[in-house]
Symmetry: C2
Subunit: 332 residues, 2 copies
């Protein structure tokens, strides 16, 4: 009889402790609705950061990687860096009268994005390079900052940096509060993201990994500068992502968050390591508050990775079901 | 009279405070002799880490970069990674009977390093690739660790990782204790250094920047791996160093330590930023305790950078004069 009481007492005590944990967690991730997604994340974080747990992971190895477009901020109707590209072309147009008749510049200047995007890959790449190169790293950083300070999204009218996901901001903070080092691993430009990643996401420039153009060291008027060249250096997408993570960090992440087939290999590689692992996909299911798209989408297509999620037991975050807020409330 | 006393008192008080600082510093850098080099380093560190000082630098921007070969460990009579390369060729030789007659393998197998190194660049690069590629990143890391555990330096008989400079280990610790983030920026292989940089230097893999081979993501027997390919990806030397620092960190260091012309551009770029900066070169002047070489040396040649040091007011650390110890005492 005494033994029975003891067990009951232990069970009560445990569920009580569990209750406390859940309350704390609710405060930590307030924009996440109760359910599988929030529970999975919390259970994973508690497991790896609790020294008593057999799945404990030392702090230095608690690396979490995040795709950016569609995972940390929106990516519709076109990737935000593409909007930057087109605005940049418009800004540079006065110095290039030939663009008035030359494709894909002509379409960009006429605001016909669809036609611009349908030109051949080589021409489109050339246009991208024109918009992203020919200046020093410092100059380019200032150009990006100026653009973000003024440009507005065509549908929401918000600044682009106000279209980051509030639940993901909370997740980044929650992970860091539990000893994680958070990285961006994006197909977007490494020097397009670095000027604002710290202010917006709390992620410092050295933890931003992205696509890049080739660069050149020069001493200009006695001053050493790094010049951005109109040539791709590395495309940080698909199978490129694990390679870039390895090149930048020399570590295998224990948690990886993505939203498209471009993140498939990053999730495969991160979750295949030993010990506790978390792979997760943000599924865009909310056509009212954000956008709804997956398998057929040209932007952020999620097809193979969605199948792989089932097979590999990755978490699929249902935006509509799991998030009670999409964007931060304190923006315009 | 009272005023005079006051001034005297203030002067006494200041020199007293100064005295305390120097005593603390002496404890911090015990293998550095008193003199200009130690004073310059201490004054720089105190200046940038003291919030009251007008040259204060926020912690996140306190980035210090270090070349490895000849700056953190010895590099004579050949770069240690070259010794690894030759040992690796010998180990792989049984599977390559053709190497018995083919150069530069033949010379390597005969222990004739001089002839091996005098063959054409393309053959030498091919040999390097054979020694460094064809395995996964995990396999290569284990190969490096095994080699370091057994290989001994031909002259000193020490393990290579025991030929790191004690004064530089103290400097790394001193900088980190004052909020600096320390990076290796070496012409050596990024994946050759990462397996041991944390244990030996206290520098984690994500703060190691180096030369690299191309890599490939593969799913092998259902397991995702990163395979090292026999093709150079990036040579982290000379003008490549500032580019790689920018690519990896997105920041401009405020302190840079090197020892050869390969570090010239890294020092130029680091010290050209605004605010307090420290550029420093380790000058190999100690033929008894280490080696003495500079302008004419094939390994670690220091010529243009030595001239630039004068012009740019970089610190030239005189190994013989400035260091009372070369290697850590607690090794064999």
């Amino acid at each position: 009889m005494i033994r029975k009481f003891n067990i009951k007492y232990i069970v009560l005590f445990c569920s009580c402790l569990n209750g406390i944990t859940l309350v704390q967690a609710a405060e930590t991730l307030p924009s996440w609705n109760k359910g599988v997604s929030r529970d999975t994340i919390i259970q994973f974080v508690e497991k790896v950061s609790n020294q008593e747990n057999e799945q404990f992971v030392p702090e230095a190895q608690r690396i979490a990687v995040f795709d950016n477009d569609g995972t940390l901020w929106s990516e519709q109707p076109i990737y935000f860096q593409l909007a930057f590209t087109f605005d940049r072309i418009k800004k540079l147009a006065p110095d290039h009268p030939e663009w008035q008749t030359e494709q894909p510049y002509k379409s960009v200047l006429e605001g016909d994005i669809k036609t611009a995007l349908s030109t051949d890959k080589a021409s489109l790449l050339k246009l991208l390079m024109v918009a992203h190169a020919g200046n020093t790293t410092t100059e380019f950083s200032n150009i990006v900052k100026q653009w973000l300070a003024t440009a507005k999204h065509p549908k929401t009218g918000k600044h682009y940096t106000d279209m980051v996901y509030q639940p993901m901001l909370e997740l980044l903070n929650y992970l860091r509060a539990n000893g994680f080092k958070t990285y961006i691993v994006s197909g977007g430009g490494i020097e397009f993201m670095r000027p604002w990643s710290e202010a917006v996401y709390g992620i410092p420039p050295e933890q931003v990994i992205g696509s890049s153009v080739k660069t050149k060291f020069e001493v200009k008027d006695g001053k050493p500068v790094i010049v951005r060249l109109p040539e791709m250096n590395f495309i940080n997408d698909k199978a490129g992502k694990p390679l870039a993570i390895n090149q930048h960090t020399g570590r295998r992440p224990i948690a990886a968050f993505g939203n498209s087939d471009g993140d498939l290999q990053m999730l495969q590689w991160s979750t295949a390591g030993e010990g506790a692992r978390l792979g997760a996909l943000v599924h865009h299911t909310d056509e009212k508050r954000e956008w709804a798209y997956d398998r057929q989408s040209h932007i952020g297509g999620l097809d193979k990775a969605l199948d792989a999620a089932k097979k590999n037991n990755w978490l699929v975050i249902d935006m509509k079901r799991d998030w009670n807020t999409i964007y931060p409330a304190n923006n315009e």
